[in-house]
Symmetry: C2
Subunit: 409 residues, 2 copies
Amino acid sequence: MALIVQKYGGSSVADTDRIKNVARRIKEYRDQGDQVVVVVSAMKGVTDNLIGLAYDIMPIPTEREMDMLLATGEQTTIALTAMALHAMDIEAVSFTGAQAGIKTDAVHTKAKIQDISPAQIHEALDAGNVVIVAGFQGQTPEGNITTLGRGGSDLSAIALAAAIKADLCQIYTDVDGVYTTDPRVVPDARKLTEIAYDEMLELASLGAKVMQSRSVEFAKKFGVVFEVRSSLNDNPGTIIKEETTDMEGVVVRGASLDKNQAKVTLVAVPDHPGMAARIFKELADAAVNIDMIVQNTSHADEASTDVSFTVEKADLKKAQQLFEGLQSDIGFNEVATDENVAKLSIVGVGMRSHSGIASKMFETLASENVNIGMISTSEIKISVVINLDDSERALKAVHAAFLEDRAFD
Amino acid sequence: MALIVQKYGGSSVADTDRIKNVARRIKEYRDQGDQVVVVVSAMKGVTDNLIGLAYDIMPIPTEREMDMLLATGEQTTIALTAMALHAMDIEAVSFTGAQAGIKTDAVHTKAKIQDISPAQIHEALDAGNVVIVAGFQGQTPEGNITTLGRGGSDLSAIALAAAIKADLCQIYTDVDGVYTTDPRVVPDARKLTEIAYDEMLELASLGAKVMQSRSVEFAKKFGVVFEVRSSLNDNPGTIIKEETTDMEGVVVRGASLDKNQAKVTLVAVPDHPGMAARIFKELADAAVNIDMIVQNTSHADEASTDVSFTVEKADLKKAQQLFEGLQSDIGFNEVATDENVAKLSIVGVGMRSHSGIASKMFETLASENVNIGMISTSEIKISVVINLDDSERALKAVHAAFLEDRAFD
């Protein structure tokens, strides 16, 4: 008998038939004696409909009321899920985020969980119930309803698992788990049986869309082991957990490709102290998120340097206009931009104890005639910016070199 | 400056345009310095959609979860209404029933309000807000969400008006107020400027559909004066209040016609003590609501009596089968039924101090050649059962005799 937290996303509860499927899966665990806490999202499309109503009313809906509005989405799902269990004679009780004791700060629409008081959940579990909790929502100490922002339901599940000391936390989604890379691009991609928090975090931040970084960070902070698996079949998923020594045997855990990058180069920036700080403060003030930064060695004869960085494609125009306006003030020669780029990365905690990974990656790209525009590395990650048109071919080559035909992950 | 409670029903908030209209009306009161508490229903159709989802899941949805589900309807409206006020730079804050301090018993789907703790409402009003409260819902002392059953939003408004000692409670609906009778049947029907609680209660129970009896009873119990008026225009409505001496000057306040009645007669029931009790216990056990009861004088020669009663048309079959099964046991001769009947009633607190009203009503019907099948009276009401085909003509005649051409109500 285990204490399990299960989270089902919007597509898993998209209609009443799928909710009945979810209930059948919960019943399987209940029948084998497990105690189950279920976290559900709003039914697919419901949140967008509610947002549409709000925008019909005002162009920038006020945030406290937006939370009041959006919280109804998950509340609808918990009631229907509890009913679906009742229809199979399983005792169940639904709780809103507030009723489940999820306390947050007062930053409406992107609140942070501050504390969970799970007394009511334990009481309901002890009375023999499956407990259904509305994901994505909580309550301030003053009693105002809040929502947690994107990926909030995953966060609810992981935070609840930590609070009730669950034996297992299962995140049900529409993919089978975490893959070595995107199977739509690389058909040979394999599902991982396990991955370390830090690897998952790097992959999340690199654009692998399985889960938001904040949920993984929360799990890492509180040591919550969780499994990402499909609600559409019974295949085992991928376990995400703290890295262990034997995980270092795998040098590269995954590879990811982010096509949503654009490159900006400020050409011949005067090479003074404080210049980089100036440039990136301007970007921060304009709320442009930058990712990779590379400053090339100074041109010895000119006392100037080229500064390159990548931004999301959506922010490119804004960054370009910003620096064209600052050209004479800062004193560089030109703003060069390139939308035709992509970022290719490999990730693995084993890199810490293995050398030669970078050179093997660069050789692999060279043998495919792929030119490298920028390079950035961390302890467990190597990223390169390459031409967009080469990028899928490059990903396949890198995947073949590091990630295929391994008997054991 | 007054403290006003306004209630808007589902058709008044049916879509975002109508919600904006409601906000404009609230603004008018706010602009003249009033403090306003607004109670809203779910947007028209929303509750039915939610009920449909529940029935997709299970044939008899569990009631705690039904309340959890349905409460989202009003929660959606309060958020949108608050936003609509914000869009006009009016400060406003929304509260669920629980947040508004509405405490109920635990009888899910038809909970009774037990107490209201209006501290949060007063605080929000004092801070300059319009307060928007979700109607139809409350919370048990244990923190479970409840709903109040049919007409629940009216009840929420009247109970809140009592709790915060409002100067005025306005029930906005899609009719202009309470009429002397149904204007669709009698074009000469007039809107009443005022009506006593007891008259309103008799009219409600007689089938005039403006408001549920329980809301009027609650208003009477706590002395809440309220106005029924239209959300579609600025006409004054009808004030419902405790009767005053001068209200007795009006002998008949209104007339109503209920076509949803059927008559059952048990012919030649043995005239023993306890026989009526037996008959009506059988009906109660079968959950058949009866309305009028008439027992005719005994046939002296047979020691038997005819017992007639009226039921809703929907219950006629059930009542008929019930008594056909009991015919030999109870020992009457026959179950006679008549679906082709209607109940015509006149109501007025002035009847208490005036005589001759009944005879004037019977004369009026006689002059129209309308035969009277059953008669029932209370202190402030006279009801007759007549042939359905005569009923509209009879209502017109009675309205003309008692309710037309009065300069003052």
